[in-house]
Symmetry: C2
Subunit: 164 residues, 2 copies
DNA sequence: CAGGGAATATTGTCGTGGCTATAGTTGCTC
DNA sequence: GAGCAACTATAGCCACGACAATATTCCCTG
């Protein structure tokens, strides 16, 4: 058909976003893997570590990550087996259980985070001068606010919904 | 540990990117699904449709998408079963085969693309005034160029490597 | 032109995660 | 307090896709 549809500036814009995102994700994943973590596991670890008492109910963890509740059950299974987090019964509601970061999980995170920040700086924020970066972030914020699924996730933080 | 690590502006920046990307992807996927396509299938269809003769060797298709060669084999299996594309033997190299978009595949794409462009405009490009959009795209381009895996993929186009 | 190494597509096997069903728990209403 | 709807975590089942192994074909070198 019409070959030029794909030259539409809207298509180009999305292509740019997709490629930048994919490239960054790959760099992140490579570093996570050096430390024995998958991207999802890193996401879970950071979500828990930034929550009060380093813990979150399974449901809330699901709401704050890209996973369904059953997906959370499984990744928590794996990470519990690896000693990075553990389950704790909720005293006030016997249906719920908390996922809690262990000391090992926190120290793993400490190993990873400095390198992670370096990678962000090297491939993302450091690629732009401050004004340019501000422009980029303003634009992203605008898009994020427009597209953002729901506000909060019940009990803990008003933090962003989708992962990271 | 130190709660404030997560307030680092680099973390914030990545969080913005991730959330904007996730939100957009979800909108796209929802529309694709209305037309019976997964995101990967849309990616394959567009990649083929924008290639000479609406076809691509399996290997090149893999290089231009987010899939491995075996992944391409399988998605092409499914799409061939659905009549959207078909395989064609390569006359010059009996190891290779082409994936070719069928008429049904092209018309499916024609059904989808207008709505897809609308969604991009509604949730992404239309959220920003022209100057802001330019700033965003410049920044993304910078990051993309830095992070971009490899240049070209052999035979056909010098087009972008990762999907879309 | 015989042989060997590189390239190509496919298949087997496996890990991951979504959807749905399920069992246990809670809180509300009568 | 009994009944019932909503909620919570988990398990069964399935689709998807990566990795490694495999068969075929190509090309280059002697």
């Amino acid at each position: 058909m019409d070959q030029n549809v794909f030259d539409d500036p809207r298509i180009t814009a999305v292509g740019l976003l997709v490629e930048a995102y994919a490239g960054l994700s790959a760099r992140f994943a490579a570093q996570f893997e050096e430390h024995g973590l998958s991207p999802v596991e890193f996401e879970v670890l950071t979500r828990l570590a930034r929550s009060p008492n380093n813990q979150l109910r399974m449901t809330d963890l699901a709401a704050q990550t890209s996973l369904s509740t059953s997906g959370v059950t499984r990744v928590v299974d794996r990470m519990e087996r690896d000693g990075l987090i553990c389950r704790r019964a909720c005293p006030s509601d016997r249906r719920s259980s908390f996922a809690v970061v262990t000391a090992a999980g926190l120290s793993r995170l400490d190993e990873i985070l400095p390198g992670h920040l370096k990678i962000i700086e090297q491939w993302f924020t450091g690629q732009l001068d401050p004004a340019q970066l501000d422009g980029l972030l303003d634009g992203l914020r605008r898009v994020r606010d427009a597209v953002h699924p729901g506000a909060t996730a019940g009990s803990t933080e008003p933090a962003g919904t989708a992962g990271y």
